[in-house]
Symmetry: C2
Subunit: 204 residues, 2 copies
Amino acid sequence: MKQGYHHGNLRQALVEAALELIAEKGPTGFTLSEAAKAVDVTPAAVYRHFAGRDQLIAEVARQGYDIFAALMEFAYADGQPTALAAFEATGRAYLAFARKYPGHYMAMFESGLSFNAHPDLALMAQKARAVLERAAERLSQHMPAGRRPPASMFSAHIWAMSHGVVELFMRGNPGAKSPFTPEDLLESGIGIYLRGLGLLTPDA
Amino acid sequence: MKQGYHHGNLRQALVEAALELIAEKGPTGFTLSEAAKAVDVTPAAVYRHFAGRDQLIAEVARQGYDIFAALMEFAYADGQPTALAAFEATGRAYLAFARKYPGHYMAMFESGLSFNAHPDLALMAQKARAVLERAAERLSQHMPAGRRPPASMFSAHIWAMSHGVVELFMRGNPGAKSPFTPEDLLESGIGIYLRGLGLLTPDA
DNA sequence: TGTACATCAGTGAACGCGCGTTCACTGATGTAC
DNA sequence: TGTACATCAGTGAACGCGCGTTCACTGATGTAC
């Protein structure tokens, strides 16, 4: 597999190595040297592509936000076939992303990297969030007017529940003993929530 | 402040130093030596009290679970004055704990320390979780029978939303721009959820 | 009350280690002619 | 097509550093008599 002196695509190879390391040991649980070793390269070589560890993690997060936004967008499907169905699909996509791209997810939400230091990231995060907010906005137009909570609050609730399910019930840790799958938990939770908004009939 | 050769209560002093360091730089963001320095003691002294960094963090988490369970228990107040009010108080207590004891919270829920390696911790976590589950259990007896979700699912939903609100909207990070306080977000979110369960009248 | 001694919490020196970072270099690749 | 040269990605040696961990020690505290 060794191609000799020149690697060919070291930058992306490092990103992928970082992804595995993050998924395995958390966003702060690995060093630059480890990432270099994982792709059979001198630690010094990393500096041709990244200014340091933070830059590497930021790039992982950046790619994560890209995939994430695309997935959410795709799941939302422009609000088709119904605003409600599209909204629910978006929630499922959130969880599917977290499950399929754990390294990206952790880099995005658990790495603690500062949005001030990486303004481009802040922008991309905002864009991803906008998809969910748009879905909430549209859905809330089906609600008994005057009793609507602001769409941004609505979407914050859903985001919070989704993130909570991921953190508590999809990783090994604390609620590990739950007899429900994360998918079931989120689906039922969102269902009850939407019923509370009058968006699902009591018997649905 | 230096008392000379003997510190007096180094063990607890280390725990408190760790708390500050965790709150500041995350559960993996500090070293044993830093903790030792923070209390003006040789790194070697730490080994008189803890086998290593993990043991120190585990002790922090242990004390956290203690406080947490007590707070939740107190807030629940044996289901008084009503099952509903007690339940909501419990939710508020969750958030209050996360705000007041960030270091403990992070050690408990974000340190990634294995429950297998610390079975005593698993037990304490279980005990804390039981308070919320009991509150959910009691409350669910007020629900239209036959349409009750299992209390453990119910409480998992609430736990997830609470945790999500803490992670996303109480720390600086991603949803930072939300115009709502975490407290408002959680209270409204739980309110809508409970309405979805038929536990609040639509006008409440 | 005073002295001798046991206990044990904290010291400080030492070690090997891996990390981040720099630097002059080397050798593979691509391009101009 | 072939040769000379520029480019630049990756090397490897070197550095200073702080960490985790050990060890024989020291000196403060508590207790027996």
